[in-house]
Symmetry: C2
Subunit: 146 residues, 2 copies
DNA sequence: CTTGTAGTTGACCAACTTGGTCAACAATAC
DNA sequence: GTATTGTTGACCAAGTTGGTCAACTACAAG
């Protein structure tokens, strides 16, 4: 199992947008600074997220990015599917006709069982959920410092 | 989520060994033919599995490979860990000190939750389990052909 | 209508991983 | 000693990942 850093970046960016939801638009330069994500890389991620309808972007001065929908309606699964590439768990899963071991292949079920479990967790966690957790984690860090 | 083909190959090889457990040793050439795995590639996989104690290998004529333990004691998790590479879910999980977003990082928990779920499924499935499923799947193919 | 700002797009890159091959070597049975 | 079979190391092509850069486009303000 492996989560591409893009996805982690994307989640952090969305989290940043959720936290600054009162502002009409957040510039990618600001997100980049706050979240320590290389800006030109972040730009591409935001572009992809925008194309997949998770973010609304506006150019020019006063431009920037904002969540396109309620943070509770954006799940990690969506981010994963948007940024995570093709994510084909194993070749024969979506091209079973090309699998020459099909005559009695017991592991296909297991691999898709795994995939389902992952999807269930990711689709069950929204940016809103994560924002709550993040704030809790931050509070913990602060109280530990005192 | 993505299962490297090596792991799938490895599982099939072990399944083949389990099915031929009555023979003292199975040659990699035979496994290669039956399971449609390129032999020289299969050889490396078997070597790795042997180093991790899942397989016992003997050279020379009458040589070959055999399961080193009971099929019920070999889980897909073991195969995954043996062949699947480093499998670091995301950098900061095992090197949290290198994570500069640590001050309030809510997603680390989610990523490890995902990892745990995957491990639970993989560790809960043994080669013996899979052999049963495989035979059932084969029976189904045969009955469908009639 | 120009100017500055900020997102968009395409080309490009280094590093790494994956799946795979090949030749030489070592152990062992006959 | 010879044939057989696993072991080891070197090597490879192709694809992916994380990342950069320059040019381009939209838009607000003056």
């Amino acid at each position: 199992m492996h989560i591409p850093i893009k996805v982690d970046y994307g989640v952090r960016a969305l989290l940043d947008l959720a936290e600054h939801a009162q502002e009409p638009a957040v510039r990618s330069a600001d997100i980049s600074l706050r979240q320590h994500i290389p800006q030109s890389f972040l730009d591409r991620l935001l572009l992809t997220l925008a194309k997949d309808g998770l973010v609304r972007s506006v150019r020019g001065p006063l431009g920037g990015h904002a969540l396109a929908r309620d943070p509770a309606q954006v799940t990690l699964g969506m981010v994963m599917r948007s940024l995570g590439g093709n994510e084909t768990i194993v070749g024969c899963l979506e091209a079973p006709e090309s699998c020459n071991h099909l005559a009695g292949c017991g592991q296909r079920e297991i691999w898709s069982e795994v995939e389902d479990a992952v999807q269930r967790i990711l689709d069950g966690t929204s940016i809103a959920d994560l924002l709550v957790r993040t704030k809790a984690a931050r509070a913990l860090v602060v109280s530990a410092a005192n």
